[in-house]
C-alpha cells in the first residue's frame, strides 16, 4: 500500500496544475523511490516527466509498485479543496480503486478526506536517455514565462538561439517581430535571478510558444527553470524541486516550416 505525506499540499497542487493543461489522464507510478509520472500530450509532441522523490514526503511508504490512474482535472478538483499549507496525505491500496487524499489543516484541527476514483490507463513509457545538451540555460522561471507570454502576442513559435553572446528568443509574426536576448547574468544578492548559460556549441531551434507557455504554468513550483537544448532533440524545460524531485517538460522542435 501507499502512504505518502506531504508537508505542504501546495507542491502537489502546483504540479498537477502545471500538468493538467498538457495531459488529461495519466498514471502516477508509485514505487519505493517515490512518485513518478510520465505522460505525453495528445499530439505526442510534448512529454512531461515528474518525479517526486520519497525524500519530498515525510513519511513515504510504498510497499509495492502501484500505478494510480488519475484524471488530472478530477484530481485538480479534489486538490482545490486543500489549502496550500495543509498537510496532504496520499493513501492507496495495493490494487486500488480509489486514491484517498487527506488534508489536515495545521492551524485548526480540520481534517478533510477525499476518495478519488481511479482508472486504468494503458500508457506507454518512453525511455529518456541522459543527454549531454549543447546548451543549458538557467534563468528565473518568471523571466522565461514573461518571454514566452510576450512573444506569443506576436507569433506562435519562437526561435531560441543560444550562442556565446547569450540566448536570443525571437519571433516573427503577422504584426511584426520581436526578440528577447538574455546574457549570462550573475546576481550576487539574489541568486535566483541569475541567468546561466552553459554552451558547448551554438544551437538554434524553433518551438511552439503555446506549448512553452503551457510549461510555464509550473513556474510557481520553482524560482528557476533550466532549458536544455541540442540540435535534433527535444527541448528540456526543467523545474527543479526540493529533494531532487523535478518536473520536466520535453518539447519537440519545429523543423522546416519556419514562419
Amino acid at each position: 500500500m501507499l502512504e505518502a505525506r506531504l508537508e505542504q499540499a501546495d507542491l502537489l497542487k502546483k504540479v498537477v496544475d502545471a500538468i493538467k493543461d498538457l495531459v488529461q489522464d495519466c498514471n502516477f507510478d508509485c514505487n519505493d523511490s517515490g512518485l513518478a509520472l510520465q505522460a505525453m500530450d495528445n499530439s505526442h509532441v510534448a512529454l512531461v516527466s515528474m518525479m517526486l522523490k520519497a525524500e519530498s514526503f515525510s513519511p513515504y511508504r510504498c510497499d509495492r509498485n502501484i500505478a494510480l490512474g488519475v484524471n488530472l482535472t478530477s484530481l485538480t478538483k479534489v486538490l482545490r479543496a486543500a489549502q496550500n499549507e495543509d498537510i496532504l496525505t496520499l493513501k492507496a491500496e495495493d490494487a486500488p480503486d480509489v486514491l484517498n487524499l487527506v488534508f489536515e489543516s495545521s492551524g485548526n484541527d480540520r481534517l478533510s478526506e477525499y476518495d478519488l476514483k481511479l482508472m486504468d490507463i494503458d500508457q506507454e513509457h518512453l525511455g529518456i536517455p541522459d543527454t549531454e545538451y549543447a546548451a543549458t540555460i538557467s534563468m528565473p522561471s518568471t523571466e522565461f514565462r514573461r518571454i514566452c507570454v510576450d512573444l506569443m502576442a506576436l507569433s506562435e513559435s519562437v526561435s531560441i538561439e543560444a550562442s556565446k553572446d547569450g540566448v536570443k528568443f525571437s519571433c516573427t509574426g503577422d504584426i511584426g517581430n520581436g526578440a528577447v536576448t538574455l546574457r549570462s547574468h550573475n546576481n550576487v544578492e539574489n541568486p535566483e535571478l541569475n541567468v546561466d548559460i552553459e554552451l558547448s556549441e551554438p544551437v538554434a531551434l524553433t518551438f511552439s510558444l503555446k506549448y512553452l507557455v503551457n510549461f510555464c504554468k509550473a513556474s510557481g513550483l520553482s524560482k528557476s527553470v533550466k532549458l536544455c537544448l541540442s540540435n535534433e532533440v527535444p527541448l528540456l524545460v526543467e523545474y527543479g524541486l526540493d529533494g531532487g524531485s523535478y518536473l520536466r517538460f520535453y518539447l519537440a522542435p519545429k523543423i522546416g516550416d519556419d514562419e
Partner: protein
C-alpha cells in the same frame, strides 16, 4: 340474360331461321333500306334489327313466344319449336363502359348468295352490339309452377294426381302462346315426358296421372347439376365460386401456418361433431341466397370480359389444397344452386335447398361444409394474424422508433460522456489541441519505448 330485352317482333320468315345457326336480321327491310339510301344518317330506327343465334333445323312452325319465366314469373320470350322443344334466349352484350356496335353487312360469299335476296343488301349498323343466343331449356322448369302451384305448395297432403293434359291446360292458361304450340303432339309428348321426372305417376286406365314430388325433382336437379359439372363449370364461375371459396388463406409466416392449420383442424374436428345442423343449414341457405347475384352478372358479361377473367385465372392467386371430393362437392352444389336460382321458383327452390342440406339429402355435403368452415376459421385466423402482423409491423415501426430513440439516447449518452471527458479535459488542454504541431516530431521519435 333472359329475353326481356329481346325483339318484340316474331320473325316471320322460317327460312331465315333454318339456315344453320346464323345471324339473322329481322328488321323490316324497307325501313332499313330507306335509312341507308340517304347518305346522311337518318333518324334512329324505331324497330332496330336484333341478332339471334337460333337452333339449326328448327321446324317452320317454330315461333318466338312469350312464356312465363319459371323463376321470376314474368313474361319472357322463348323460342319454341314444336319438334325440338323450347329455347331460352341469353343476351350477350358489350359492357356499358366499352360501347360497341354491330355492322351488318350483306354476305359476299358465294354460298350465301341465295340469302342476298332476302336480306337488306346495303347492311345496317346496329346501335347495340347485342346478341341473343337461344339455348334449349328443359320444359320441366316451365312445368314446375303448374305441377306445384304456389297456392298449394305449402299443403303437400292436398296434392292430387292429375293427368298430363290437365297440367298442360293449366300451363296454357298461364301462357296463352304456348297453348297454341302445345297442339303439336311432339311438344306435348316432350312436356309429359319431362313431367315424369318430377312427379309420382299412377296409371289410371290408359292415362297416366302425375303428382308433384319434391324428392324426384331434387334427384333430377342433382342429375342436371352433375351433368353441368361434367364438362367443367364456366371459367368465371369456377374462379369466383369454386376456387375463391376454397382458397386457403396465405399466412405470412409459414411456420405459424402449419401449426395454425393443425390446431384449426383439431378444433374443427371436435367442433364439427357439435355443430348444430340447423346452423349449417341457415348458413348455407344464406350463402345460396347470396349466390344468384354473381350469376346474373356473369351471364350478362361479354366474352371479352370473361376472357379477361380467364387471363386472370391463369395466374394462381392462392393454393387450393382442398381435400379430395370437396372441390367436386362444391362444384355440384354451385351448379345445383345455379340451376335452382335461375329456373326454379323461389318457393320451390327454398325447400329444395333445405332438402339438399338435410341429412336425408342424396348427396352428403358434410365434408364440404366442414372444410368450408375450417377455411372460414383459417381465414379468420389469418385475418387475426394479419391484424396481428399489422400490429407487429406497427410495432416494428415503433421498434424502429425505439431503436432510433435508443440510438439517439446512446448518442446523447456518448455526447454526454464526451462532454464529461471534455470536462475531464482542462481548458488549457483543449487549447493545446488546437496548436499547430506541423513540423514537430513525435516524442516516440526521440525516446524509445521502454
Amino acid at each position: 340474360m333472359r329475353t326481356r330485352n329481346a325483339a318484340t317482333e316474331v320473325p316471320r320468315k322460317g327460312t331465315d331461321k333454318r339456315t344453320r345457326a346464323k345471324i339473322t336480321t329481322k328488321a323490316s327491310e324497307s325501313e332499313a333500306a330507306e335509312l341507308v339510301s340517304k347518305i346522311q344518317l337518318g333518324p334512329e330506327s324505331s324497330n332496330p334489327p336484333l341478332l339471334f343465334i337460333l337452333p339449326e333445323d328448327a321446324s317452320p312452325e317454330a315461333r318466338v313466344i312469350s312464356l312465363e319465366n319459371p323463376r321470376y314469373s314474368t313474361e319472357d320470350r322463348y323460342f319454341v319449336c314444336p319438334d325440338k322443344g323450347i329455347y331460352e334466349f341469353t343476351k350477350v352484350a358489350a359492357p356499358k363502359t366499352t360501347p360497341r356496335s354491330w355492322l351488318l353487312a350483306p354476305a359476299t360469299g358465294d354460298n350465301l348468295e341465295s340469302d342476298k335476296k332476302t336480306h337488306n343488301e346495303d347492311g345496317f349498323v346496329m346501335r347495340d352490339a347485342n346478341l341473343f343466343i337461344s339455348t334449349p331449356i328443359d320444359p320441366l322448369f316451365l312445368l314446375l309452377t303448374v305441377l306445384n302451384p304456389l297456392s298449394k305448395a305449402s299443403e303437400a297432403s292436398k296434392k292430387l294426381f292429375l293427368s298430363g293434359d290437365d297440367y298442360l291446360d293449366k300451363l296454357g292458361e298461364a301462357s296463352p302462346h304456348l297453348s297454341v304450340m302445345l297442339r303439336s303432339p311432339v311438344l306435348r309428348k316432350k312436356f309429359e315426358d319431362r313431367m315424369k321426372v318430377a312427379c309420382e305417376t299412377v296409371e289410371a286406365g290408359d292415362e297416366t296421372m302425375y303428382r308433384w314430388s319434391e324428392e324426384k325433382l331434387l334427384q333430377e336437379l342433382l342429375r342436371k347439376a352433375k351433368k353441368m359439372i361434367e364438362k367443367g363449370l364456366p371459367a368465371s364461375m369456377e374462379e369466383k365460386l369454386i376456387k375463391k371459396p376454397l382458397e386457403v388463406p396465405i399466412l405470412s409466416v409459414k411456420r405459424e401456418d402449419s401449426s395454425l392449420s393443425e390446431s384449426a383442424k383439431d378444433g374443427e374436428a371436435t367442433q364439427a361433431d357439435s355443430i348444430d345442423l340447423s346452423d349449417t343449414q341457415s348458413t348455407t341457405n344464406s350463402a345460396a341466397e347470396s349466390l344468384p347475384t354473381p350469376f346474373s352478372e356473369t351471364s350478362t358479361a361479354t366474352t371479352s370480359f370473361s376472357e379477361l377473367e380467364n387471363g386472370d385465372m391463369s395466374t394462381p392467386k392462392a393454393k387450393t389444397s382442398a381435400p379430395d371430393g370437396v372441390t367436386e362437392l362444391l362444384r355440384l352444389r354451385t351448379a345445383f344452386l345455379f340451376i335452382s336460382s335461375n329456373y326454379i321458383p323461389l318457393y320451390i327452390s327454398t325447400p329444395l335447398k333445405k332438402a339438399l342440406c338435410s341429412p336425408e339429402s342424396p348427396v352428403d355435403f358434410k365434408p364440404l361444409d366442414t372444410y368450408l368452415e375450417h377455411l372460414a376459421k383459417l381465414r379468420q385466423d389469418a385475418l387475426a394474424l394479419r391484424s396481428l402482423g399489422d400490429y407487429s409491423r406497427k410495432r416494428d415501426i415503433d421498434d424502429d422508433d425505439e431503436t432510433i430513440e435508443h440510438r439517439a439516447e446512446k448518442k446523447r449518452k456518448r455526447e454526454e460522456e464526451d462532454k464529461r471527458k471534455k470536462a475531464g479535459v482542462s481548458v488549457g488542454l483543449r487549447k493545446l489541441q488546437k496548436v499547430n504541431t506541423t513540423g514537430m516530431k513525435k516524442m516516440s521519435d526521440f525516446f524509445k519505448k521502454k
